[in-house]
């Protein structure tokens, strides 16, 4: 055992040090025990704003947190930026830690990692009395109106966005010709909905033929390889590439460049900065924006309005508890408006927070 004793001691020492540090920081952020805040009882300066996304290495989610900062600045506060690296366990730990602290005037704008991560977050917030807005992911059978502290759930209609870019692609290739689809991770709702949207678009454009559909798992590198293979398979029959997100569209653009093809139209979804640049340059045809900065601000705005009493939770209609937000098709015509994403203060006024609703989630 002699040879292991020193490393073991080091490890134990480090663990203890880490535990002590963690204890200190927990104490610092702790204080008042949570529980059942009266709606509207908070002074604006007492509100804590928290935005949580997967990681800041994703331009869209980084822009989301920037939007949250913009809103916080608007009301004279700062936002706590939390990221959990797409790790469900870490997300739950961060939430538990938050809810163990002072939750009286806590407002959380959360991007749950997956559908199944939403219920524990909701239960936790309900119990602790924190104001919660979630986006993108929730199980279909979990009803927001059954909870008091879960103010709203916002998502986007993937069928609609898949159809929008499908139509834009059909128009770009002159209404007829062969296209291929690069699907996302096949067992995600986003991938299924977006592809269903493409199928709707194909039904409306009978001369556009879907030559092939493959998955590239929302990844730029995989899309590069798959597109290269599809280019050799279909050659000049290929007129357009429909990608379920911009990362894959950008991978497809690289493959086209390497193959020396300039006659193929490419569309994607998400409006990441590189895709907007590509649309400006004319190499990409269209993308769809959910407006990340707005998403980062709006969740905090709804929570802030309820916490400060400007908006009463019981006045939020059932349609506004779980809703589809407006998304924007970006082409070369309007790309300039989106290339430097900014938030509009008017969107976050308390009587305006639901203005982008496209209807309740059915």
């Amino acid at each position: 055992m002699k040879f292991t004793s020193r490393p073991t001691a080091v490890v134990i020492g480090l663990t203890l040090a880490a535990a002590t540090l963690a204890g200190c920081s927990e104490e610092a952020s702790g204080g008042g025990g949570g529980g059942g805040a009266e709606a509207g009882a908070c002074a604006p300066e007492d509100v804590t704003l928290v935005g949580q996304v997967r990681n800041e290495s994703n331009p869209y989610e980084a822009a989301w947190l920037d939007g949250g900062d913009a809103f916080a600045e608007q009301v004279g506060l700062t936002q706590d930026r939390l990221t959990y690296d797409g790790d469900s366990t870490r997300q739950q730990e961060q939430i538990s830690q938050l809810l163990a602290g002072d939750t009286e005037c806590l407002v959380m704008n959360i991007l749950p990692n997956g559908d199944s991560d939403t219920p524990p977050i909701v239960e936790g917030a309900e119990e602790a009395g924190a104001y919660l807005v979630t986006q993108w992911n929730k199980p279909a059978d979990l009803n927001v109106a059954d909870y008091d502290q879960w103010l709203s759930h916002i998502t986007y209609n993937g069928v609609e966005s898949g159809k929008q870019i499908g139509d834009a692609l059909a128009e770009a290739i002159g209404g007829s010709g062969g296209i291929v689809a690069l699907q996302g991770i096949l067992d995600t709702g986003a991938a299924k909905d977006r592809f269903a949207g493409l199928e709707e678009s194909l039904a409306a454009n009978p001369d556009v033929e879907l030559l092939d559909d493959q998955t590239a798992n929302f990844s730029r590198a995989e899309a590069l390889e798959v597109t290269k293979t599809l280019l050799t398979k279909h050659g000049d029959d290929l007129k357009g590439i429909w990608a379920a997100n911009d990362d894959m569209a950008l991978g497809a653009l690289e493959a086209l460049e390497q193959a020396g093809r300039t006659d193929v139209a490419v569309v994607g979804i998400d409006a990441v900065p590189d895709a907007l640049t590509a649309i400006e340059d004319g190499t990409m045809t269209a993308t769809v924006s959910s407006d990340g900065p707005w998403q980062g601000g709006i969740g905090l705005a709804i929570g802030f309005c309820v916490a400060t009493g400007e908006l009463a939770a019981e006045d939020i209609t059932d349609e506004d508890r779980a809703w589809f937000a407006e998304q924007f098709l970006i082409t070369s015509d309007n790309v300039a408006d989106f290339s430097s994403p900014q938030t509009d203060e008017a969107d976050f006024e308390c009587d305006n927070v639901f203005s982008r609703s496209q209807g309740a989630i059915s």
Binding site: F3, T4, P7, N55, E56, S57, P59, A62, Q183, L186, D212, D213, Q214, T215, S219, R220, A221, L224, E225, V226, K228, T229, L230, T232, K233, L250, G251, E254, E257, Q258, V272, P273, D274
Partner: protein, 337 residues
């Protein structure tokens, strides 16, 4: 009449018994599998057997080949290496920030590439040092180093995607020589260098010996630890280069540049006949494995297998290929549970 001196000379020049290296019947499994799979896809699809698609397969195999070169040395030694995603991510972001790019005014060109490779070496060295000095299993140390690499990459990434504007690096993916992209030639060179190291350097031979019987080597007075560190450093350098190659292909530095390459490379190496128990296989075996895996991915798309089925079908074929490849060595394999 022979003088005693002549007799001595004869003894000295007597051929010493050579250890069995090179090709034996048992090693022929993977190449045969490659030929069979290639033939089957060629029969099934007109598009598959075109020259353009063969070029495409070679180009697609380039990055995986370089990663597999690195991982093969570690596997030969009987260790395992899961650090590829982190090392590749760190080197991808590093190189994209050092050559001409949209984030800063750097334009170091080839020097930037070299720094990225050195970063890969350093991270590999870290894996090796943690393995030999802390006696942590390589499985854990390399997983940790992967996390360190991803952490470094995320720090350097700082929320804005670095896009490269360096003509040289861009041209590696686009320009062709004898029908293959420059990147593919880089991969071919790596396989060649890897093979030379394995065959002719002390490092390569000791890597084999460590995998075969580390205790025997240690008892015969060889200090094993420095060679282990050197092997991990070499592997890290290969991953660093692979990160640079992905950056060249995508024209952008991605934190996720190496996502999935750890297990893809281990799969390729094992399919090619480099066993996880160590002491078997080598760079050329692994190169065959890389081609096998790439042909499979390409062929399933060309033949038109539905994407919903591809993952499962690919897995089945890989398991079958491994089973066929290791059949002649079954007794040895029983140690792996």
């Amino acid at each position: 009449m022979t003088s005693p001196a002549d007799a001595d000379t004869e003894v000295v020049v007597a051929p010493r018994p050579r250890p069995r290296r090179g090709v034996s019947l048992g090693d022929a499994g993977p190449p045969i599998a490659l030929v069979v799979i290639f033939a089957v896809f060629s029969l099934l699809s007109d598009d598959f057997r075109t020259l353009g698609n063969v070029q495409n397969i070679m180009d697609a195999a380039a990055v995986l080949a370089v990663v597999t070169c690195g991982i093969s040395f570690v596997l030969m030694m009987g260790s395992i290496d899961l650090s590829a995603p982190g090392v590749m991510g760190a080197s991808a972001i590093a190189v994209s920030l050092l050559v001409a790019n949209n984030r800063n005014d750097n334009a170091y060109g080839l020097l930037g590439v070299l720094v990225a490779l050195l970063l890969g070496s350093a991270l590999g060295c870290l894996s090796g040092l943690a393995l030999v000095s802390l006696k942590v299993p390589s499985f854990m140390t390399t997983l940790g180093v992967s996390a360190v690499g991803l952490g470094l990459a995320t720090l350097m990434f700082a929320g804005v995607q670095p896009n490269i504007r360096d003509d040289m690096l861009d041209s590696w993916a686009v320009q062709r020589f004898l029908g293959l992209a420059y990147l593919t030639w880089i991969a071919v060179a790596c396989v060649l260098v890897g093979w030379l190291i394995q065959r002719y350097s002390r490092l390569g031979r000791y890597a084999f010996a460590i995998g075969g019987a580390e205790e025997v080597l240690a008892l015969s007075g060889v200090k094993v630890a420095p060679y282990k560190v050197a092997v991990f450093t070499l592997a890290g350098t290969f991953y660093g280069l692979a990160g640079v190659m992905v950056t060249s292909q995508l024209s952008a530095g991605l934190v996720q540049a190496g996502k999935g390459y750890d297990f893809a490379a281990i799969t390729a190496a094992v399919v090619g006949g480099t066993l996880l128990t160590g002491g078997r296989g080598g760079i050329l075996h692994s190169a065959v494995g890389v081609l096998l895996v790439t042909v499979l991915t390409n062929g399933l798309v060309q033949v038109g297998v539905s994407p919903y089925w591809q993952g499962g079908v690919q897995g089945l074929i890989v398991v079958a290929a491994v089973a066929a490849a290791v059949l002649p060595q079954r007794r040895r394999n029983q140690v792996t549970k």
